[in-house]
């Protein structure tokens, strides 16, 4: 997957494709000239804060809204002007939107009953039973939907969509209403289900952890635009800017002004006058001198040692003092205050600490990282 140039002809390798899609509501631009393709059978996520246009994008695929400009393709065919009830996609709604006046069987069979010619009652019931089994709720068919727990309602909503064997399943923050433990379970269940049925899943979420753990590909959005899209790994290791690095995982930022740059490294001078050097991401152009930029270092890339310990001179090292330590089991999370670089978050694995019990608040320490662990990122 990747960004698709607007002129490319469809080879139907994409299940869902956006070409120059813009959606305006009065004078608000919800989606701003987006082009993208989702490969057949992929688990794809739109990730971003509320109001970034991710839900609108999903609604454009479902057909609840029509693009102001551009085209949406489903299975290689333009669906411009096609109403939602004629599109081969199905949606799992945020609050599930189960029909309260129907029981579980009637809810799940709803999609089949809309078809013409109308399938036989026995056939519908058989398919409903099969689908109930798939979501592990066999025997719940006669229940009223409001009698079910949140997790069960979620699975009924999934079953109601999947029974129609859509080209693509759309999930609008499907796990937001569940508690944390149930959410983890459902994440795994969703992934398994997706592999089993082999249907393209498109997920909308504001939860980066959810997107990272489930998706093959993620599209990060802000203010209606795509900021970056790619595999979770790529977004984590090679964020194109500060926004992405901040959204995907935790990161330490050292903000400042560009003072010097080469083809591979950029030096940034912080407000307090300290200079730090970071690597430029492959293919990126160096930011101009005097422009705002940040050096970003992931907490797990930083190692921590006693202040007087000798350091590998090739590494970048900063002196500091431990402010706080949170024991997380396999990791410890340190907050270190430094002179000139602010507070730094360090994630230290237990295996390294076991010999010296780690550090306590108030200890003077030295933190260091390899030069290639620091990335230089533009602000936008």
């Amino acid at each position: 997957m990747g960004l698709v140039s607007q002129s490319s002809t469809t080879e139907c390798e994409f299940d869902i494709e956006f070409r120059g899609v813009t959606k305006r509501f009065d004078d608000i631009v919800a989606v701003d000239d987006i082009s993208l393709g989702v490969e057949r059978g992929a688990f794809f996520s739109f990730l971003g804060p509320s109001g970034c246009g991710k839900t609108t994008s999903l609604r454009l695929i479902a057909g609840f809204d029509q693009p102001t400009e551009g085209k949406v393709f489903i299975g290689g065919e333009s669906v411009v002007g096609v109403p939602s009830h004629k599109r081969p996609v199905n949606m799992v709604f945020q609050q599930y939107a189960l029909f309260p006046h129907m029981n579980v069987n009637e809810n799940i069979g709803y999609g089949l009953r809309q078809r013409r010619p109308k399938p036989a009652k026995q056939e519908v019931l058989k398919r409903v039973d099969e689908t109930l089994e798939m979501v592990r709720l066999s025997g719940y068919g006669k229940r009223r939907v409001w009698e079910l727990s949140g997790g069960q309602q979620q699975r009924i909503a999934l079953a109601r969509a999947l029974i129609n064997r859509p080209t693509c399943l759309l999930l609008d923050e499907p796990l937001a209403a569940l508690d944390r433990k149930l959410r983890r379970e459902m994440q795994i269940e969703l992934q398994t289900l997706q592999r089993d049925v082999g249907i393209t899943f498109i997920l909308v979420t504001h939860d980066q952890e959810e997107a990272l753990s489930m998706s093959d590909n993620i599209c990060i959005m802000r203010e209606g635009k795509i900021i970056q899209s790619g595999s979770p790994r790529k977004l984590y290791d090679e964020p194109v800017n500060k926004y992405v690095a901040d959204f995907v995982g935790k990161t330490n930022f050292f903000n400042g002004e560009v003072v010097e740059s080469t083809d591979v490294t950029v030096s940034v001078k912080s407000d307090s006058g300290q200079v730090l050097t970071g690597m430029l991401i492959k293919g990126a152009t160096a930011p101009a001198n005097k422009s705002k930029a940040s050096v970003a270092v992931r907490p797990e890339m930083i190692s921590i040692s006693a202040a007087d310990a000798t350091n590998n001179s090739a590494n970048i090292a900063i002196q500091g003092r431990v402010l706080n330590r949170i024991f997380l089991g396999e990791h410890s999370e340190y907050l270190i205050t430094t002179e000139g670089f602010g507070d730094v978050l360090v994630l230290s694995p237990k295996s390294i600490e076991s010999n010296n019990q780690g550090f306590a608040p108030g200890d003077n320490v030295s933190i260091s990282w390899k030069p290639d662990a620091a990335l230089v990122l533009g602000d936008t």
């Binding site: 479902a62 057909g63 609840f64 109403p83 939602s84 009830h85 004629k86 996609v89 199905n90 949606m91 709604f93 945020q94 609050q95 939107a97 189960l98 029909f99 309260p100 006046h101 709803y110 999609g111 809309q114 078809r115 109601r160 969509a161 129609n164």
Partner: protein, 287 residues
Amino acid sequence: MKVSNKSNRWLTAALLAPTSVWFVLMLILPLIVILVFSFGERAAVGGYAGGFTLEQYANLPSRLKAFQNTMTIAPAGTLLSLLVAYPLAYYLALRVDRKYKLILLVLVIVPFWTSLLVRTYAWIFILGGRGIPSLLELIGIEGVRLINTPGAVLVGIVYGYLPLMVFPIFVSLEKLDKSLLEASSDLGGSPLKTFMQITIPLSMPGVATGCMLVFILLMGEFLIPAFLGGGKVFFIGNALVDLFLQSRNWPFGAAVSVTLVVIMLITVSLYMRMTLRSNTGRDESLM
């Protein structure tokens, strides 16, 4: 806990007392009086003369026409009000731009600011000889008589009772979760099927409430048939006015009243059982 329970009980009793007293004095007692009167005899000069007789009830068939009219026009008027009110409520709840919603809702109520009597009087002119029929004559349709027909009474009923039907339906449509409509469409339901399978069933509580309100009030209606029925289309209400105020036959009037109450109790309880069953125990089922 016992003490506070006890004081709670006193408080509850105190709060309920005014309503209870009002209820007993203004509803229960008069009903008992009516019931007693209905088994009595008419005094020679009119009014009530005591005694015990079933004569009044035996005489009921003489007012058969009033019962027949009420029992046909009240349900018909309810149904017609529903047919007119539903599209209006649907438009107000689901279609109209938010900006205009409040204004349009107020416009539905505005007629209530004038007495129904005055507004119904206006219909006499609209439907009367110099109203619509004279306009029809201009385009060559002659001899149309509208006033003093069941049709005129129905028009008056729909006009007068529309807001009572619109509001309960509007409320149930407005609180209808719009994502249910999207879900239906998403699952392949055409707009018509979505309307039939989702919108209508989920607005039934409002429909039931509206129909009940209008029907109960229509059973006792007398103003509209008196004005627009012109003595040709009369309801039980008109018969009662006649019996109590004109011919002063109180015991017979009482018997007609009791019969009306009994008919209403039977139809309303049948109706409630029907609507409750179709909503099997949902908390928002009725009213």
